[in-house]
Amino acid sequence: MDYFIELLFSGLTRGSIYALIALGYTMVYGIIGLINFAHGEIYMIGAFTAFIVATVLSIYGFPLLAIIVIAGVAAAVWSSAYGYTIEKIAYKPLRHAPRLSPLISAIGMSIFLQNYVLLAQTSDFLPFPELIPDFEFMEPVAHIVGSSDLVILITTTVVMLILTYIIKFTRVGKAMRATAQDRTMAMLVGINVNQIISATFIIGSALAAIGGLLIASHIGQINFYIGFIAGIKAFTAAVLGGIGSIPGAVLGSLVLGLTESFATGYVSSDYEDVFAFSLLVLILIFKPSGLLGKAETKKV
């Protein structure tokens, strides 16, 4: 039973890690129907920004909490700037092009950013400072769920609640939903669609950056390639949960994380990915739009 609970928390942590990235995928897809393959790179840039800021601040002897907050804000702002710029450069000019064009553009952006960080920073793995300390009250259960697991779990929950609130109850959220439903109609009723799309990219990128900080601190290392692998898994999770749906992204991520964790724990980690992707295939066969996705109806 202990083992089950350990695996459960391991899976939840892993799922929450995917969720922080998957939310950005699903938001962008919900609004403009584009799979933003460069999103994993935004996450990676967030981690690098946090790394640089945290390293500099710790040299000046800032307290840990201040480092987390400043590094988190800096990473969120910097990644948002990247997200905003990518949208303006790579996607906006292609908004009326066939769907395949922005997709290729996104893949191009992803490769560009990876190589840019590779050249501008390094190809080596860098040690990421442990920003989340071991809380003393967690010590009795530290062998089951660690402090950084706890922070990741809480952050993901809070972020999902805030996002749901924004989308359901604020003017921006209403405008987002309107844009997602019918962009032309939204424009006609006076919504600045371009601004809303930019806002979506900014929110998604900021989330990815916070994810980058937390995950890098949890794992303890970063390099230019981390965004690609994490991005693929998060994308899978978003599709699993129903791409375009925010609770779906979180649910899909948790399902994916738990599947991987239990597959490793009870079967073999050799088959971790086999189980994860078999599950994806099965769910898509029986529910093509994902767990919480809405089936697309073709208007005639």
Binding site: T13, K233, S261, S269, E272
Partner: protein, 376 residues
């Protein structure tokens, strides 16, 4: 290392080289003929020529000191350009010229092609550089020995360390599913099972680059393993030791030379402390190694190249074997090689039944205060 075969070399040049390199000047009966085979021309010559130099230096030392039981060493140097198809010719030629023992060949592929010919003639062959595990382990070549550790040797070194020095009985073996890591893990598992002293409680591969290894770490804990032997490279290793620390595991971490890299210590930081990793043995403190290197400087006025110390050691081992056996009969030589320890630049060595040098190759290092410290 495995030497790839070059396709660039023109075989006619090899024939010319072979024709030129027959300094058969000794009188039969008064000398012991050492064949020296390897790439001495072409783009892999840099791997073969240091062995020729080693053979010349040792032969001169032995001859100056009165030879082996009164007989002088005569070297028959033959080029195989590292190609299997030429190596068979080289071997045939050496055998027909009466080579009694052979230092070589250099490349695993060429060595494998040449070995059956020597085997038929009962000629002892000792390679300073062919690392393919099957050369010795297949059991096909009872006449083959080598003074370099085979690719699987570090698995054995790690396993022995765990069993003998640490005395653990429950071991988890984890790898990164790659050629190198999985190969290492398979050998580690095999050695553990064969030893009969320890139980492999877990054998699994992890996905490189995955965001989180806590599930496998939990599984290691549940398995009750006292140590984890990990086959792979340092990025995964540092993640695993980090997760082990986070989950409060006290399990010992032991890995291969893909992990024995300063980056591992740099990235894993204090989590790396106490972890073990095997890596090539450090010969620098061996006085014989210094002697061998200085002899090369004095004779050739240049730095020695690849496998020089291994070739030098092979020569010493063969000379010692012939001296003790009193003949070049294969069975007698084998007996000495397998029982008598020789001091060589690569250490105090003897050979196991398969022909691999025991005491050569890898050492286990432990991370102590941010440095790899060799465990004696």
């Amino acid at each position: 290392m495995k030497l790839a075969l070059s396709g660039k070399f023109v075989s006619t040049a090899a024939c010319v080289m072979m024709a030129l390199s027959v300094p058969a000047m000794g009188v039969a009966g008064d000398t012991i003929k050492f064949g020296v085979a390897g790439p001495h021309s072409g783009d892999l010559a840099s791997y073969g020529l240091p062995s020729v130099n080693a053979a010349k230096i040792v032969a001169k030392q032995v001859n100056d000191a009165g030879g082996i039981n009164g007989k002088m060493i005569e070297l028959l140097i033959e080029d195989d350009v590292c190609k299997p198809e030429i190596a068979t010719n080289t071997a045939t030629k050496l055998a027909s010229e009466g080579a009694e023992v052979v230092l070589g060949h250099i490349c695993s592929g060429a060595t494998k092609a040449a070995l059956p010919i020597y085997k038929d003639k009962g000629i002892l062959v000792m390679s300073p550089s062919a690392t393919n595990p099957a050369l010795t382990q297949s059991g096909d070549y009872p006449n083959f020995f080598r003074t370099i550790a085979p690719d699987d040797a570090q698995a054995e070194v790690d396993v022995n360390f765990v069993l003998e020095k640490l005395g653990y009985t429950k071991i988890a073996v984890v790898h990164d599913k790659g050629d190198y890591g999985k190969g290492f893990a398979e050998f580690a598992k095999k050695f553990l099972e064969e030893s009969g002293k320890a139980e492999v409680v877990l054998y699994e591969g992890v996905t490189p680059g995955a965001v989180d290894y806590s599930a496998i770490v939990l599984k290691i804990r549940k398995s009750g393993a006292e140590a984890v032997i990990f086959g792979g490279y340092h990025p995964e290793a540092s993640k695993i030791v980090g997760q082990m620390k986070k989950k409060r595991l006290k399990t010992t971490f032991i890995s291969d030379d893909g992990v024995k890299d300063m980056t591992f210590i740099k990235v894993a930081g204090k989590n790396a402390e106490g972890a073990y990793a095997s890596g090539p043995q450090d010969n620098a403190s061996n006085p014989l190694s210094k002697v061998a290197i200085e002899a090369h400087k004095a004779t050739f006025n240049s730095d020695h190249g690849a496998f020089y110390e291994n070739a030098y050691s092979a020569m010493l081992a063969m000379v010692n074997a012939i001296k003790k056996a009193g003949s070049t009969d294969l069975a007698a030589l084998k007996k000495v090689l397998q029982t008598d320890k020789v001091d060589t630049p690569v250490g105090n060595i003897y050979f196991n039944e398969m022909g691999d040098a025991v005491g050569v190759g890898f050492s286990v290092y432990q991370v102590q205060d941010g440095k790899f410290v060799e465990m004696k």
